[in-house]
Symmetry: C2
Subunit: 108 residues, 2 copies
């Protein structure tokens, strides 16, 4: 089954949205904490521009990674699971074919 053919029920959309938002919030919290830690180590202007560079990269990574379109959501969840940002139990309630697809991407 192609991913773009997957149909999302209303209940599945709720599960998906909750898992997506929770992962995004965790990632944002991690960026806040990491920024505080990096900022506390700033001594020189080079440290400052290194922080700016890192922040820009993290923002772009997050923007690219968190794409809530149903057509790409299994890929998004697969990647999040692969990097350990999402657990399979976060997706409890999704239809088996979606979980198979997500698991398949996660295990690549």
């Amino acid at each position: 089954m192609q991913m773009f053919e997957l149909q999302w029920s209303s209940a599945e959309k709720q599960v998906a949205r909750k898992a997506f938002n929770a992962a995004l919030e965790r990632e944002k919290d991690a960026v806040v904490m990491e920024t505080q830690a990096r900022a506390a180590r700033i001594r020189t202007i080079d440290d400052v521009w290194a922080l700016e560079h890192w922040l820009t990269r993290r923002r772009q990574e997050i923007d690219a990674k968190y794409d809530y379109r149903y057509s790409v959501l299994p890929i998004v969840f697969g990647h999040l699971m692969h990097e350990g940002s999402l657990a399979e139990q976060d997706l409890t309630g999704l239809a088996p074919e979606k979980l198979d697809c997500i698991r398949g991407i996660a295990q690549r």
Copy 2:
């Protein structure tokens, strides 16, 4: 006299370079301190992206402002003097026509 016609003696170049570098160092030091202060106030992800935005703007401003080409140096010094980043005594040793030009820009 057009600025691009100004000739810089070796002694003047030394004065200019020293004043330029000192102003740039002061500006960098100010950015380091301001970054530390802003970073210490970070609580949310919005604070983080606001810091990134501010850092990018400051970097671009500094890149644009500190242009060490003799053809534009009087303008650069004039702007620095205008904003209080450079004092006339920092430029002691420059020829009177250069100081007139710099002062003219500073007073705009």
